[in-house]
Symmetry: C2
């Protein structure tokens, strides 16, 4: 073989990451080996640290390095608003937009009859708890505009009492060209049209 | 911030790998954190091992874990044929096809006036040495069918004496549909047509 077992192992493990395949894994590993002092060693070190310290927040499901994440720990974020997302990547996307100042709740997926994912497989019981324990006044559903996402949104709205439930507006994305949008988006944007 | 410094660092480093970007790096890191015991720790370990052991073969430029790689070390591969490739990924691709039984020489790129890469920036002097020291009878140029690749092939052919120089045939790839091929490939395949 042209490469030794460890290098083959590394390629195989990298190839299983979402977004990578065998070809890009091989290219990434060659790149890392070429710059092993500058890239591979520091990358291995930070992976070791993250493996030892990263965990899911027991309250909201966000990823951090303590049992209760910085967002749940910050009194500033206790403004009565709770944004519900499917997964941590969505939470990070909301944070990057830098417009939401409340707290989050990560469901860990969507309800799915097909995959037998019910409310107890998600963090829905914990969500219901938090409404009272954290004095939440508005739950903002920021779920994906998929069928499962919308089913989950309706289920949550039906099962929360004494709190305002809103969801992100649907419409044409900023900079979006109509020609590139799917019919559902155009139809949702037309239905939700506003007078100028 | 929603994620701590180490997690951010890890995402940033992953995002710089070829084939990955910020979005796929975030998804890969979340995946690794979710399965940290099963994936992240073993990946960090194998990276550490590879960083400590991987090196370029002093003879051919292949990547391995010793100063002289397994291919250069194997007497079986000393059949007088030497396959010249641009980089290690190409060598691996040739090895996967499992049809070439000789040795390799990795140039480390192509000649490029624009990037001022001349013969001495590549492993061309070493290639010329190897012809005599290893008793090479045929040099097979397996360079990419790009302008720089072909310029490099011509330069090497002009500078090797006393040895047969061949190059990979150009033509329609197996399973290739004409409609999807670029004009250059079709034209090359037509010029090199064979009677049946
Ligand atoms: Zn939290
Ligand atoms: Zn070698």
């Amino acid at each position: 073989m042209s490469s030794t077992k460890d290098i083959d192992n590394l390629i195989e493990m990298m190839a299983k990451l979402p977004g990578l395949g065998p070809r890009s894994a091989r290219r990434a590993v060659l790149h890392l080996i070429r710059k092993r002092g500058l890239l591979l060693t520091p990358l291995a070190d930070v992976m070791q640290t993250v493996a030892a310290t990263a965990r899911e927040c027991l309250n909201c499901g966000n990823v951090g390095t303590s049992d209760i994440c910085d967002l749940c720990d910050s009194e500033k974020r206790a403004n009565g608003q709770l944004c519900v997302v499917e997964d941590v990547a969505d939470l990070w996307a909301m944070e990057r937009s830098n417009v939401f100042k409340g707290r989050y709740h990560v469901l860990g997926g969507t309800l799915s009859a097909l995959d037998s994912i019910g409310p107890n497989e998600l963090r829905i019981p914990k969500l219901i708890d938090r409404i009272t324990t954290e004095g939440i006044t508005e739950v903002i559903l920021a779920l994906n505009a998929t069928i499962d996402g919308q089913t989950t949104a309706h289920y949550i709205a039906d099962n929360l009492a004494g709190v305002t439930v809103t969801s992100l507006a649907q419409g044409v994305p900023i900079g979006g060209e109509l020609d590139y949008l799917d019919d559902g988006t155009i139809s949702a944007a037309l239905t939700a049209r506003k007078s100028l």
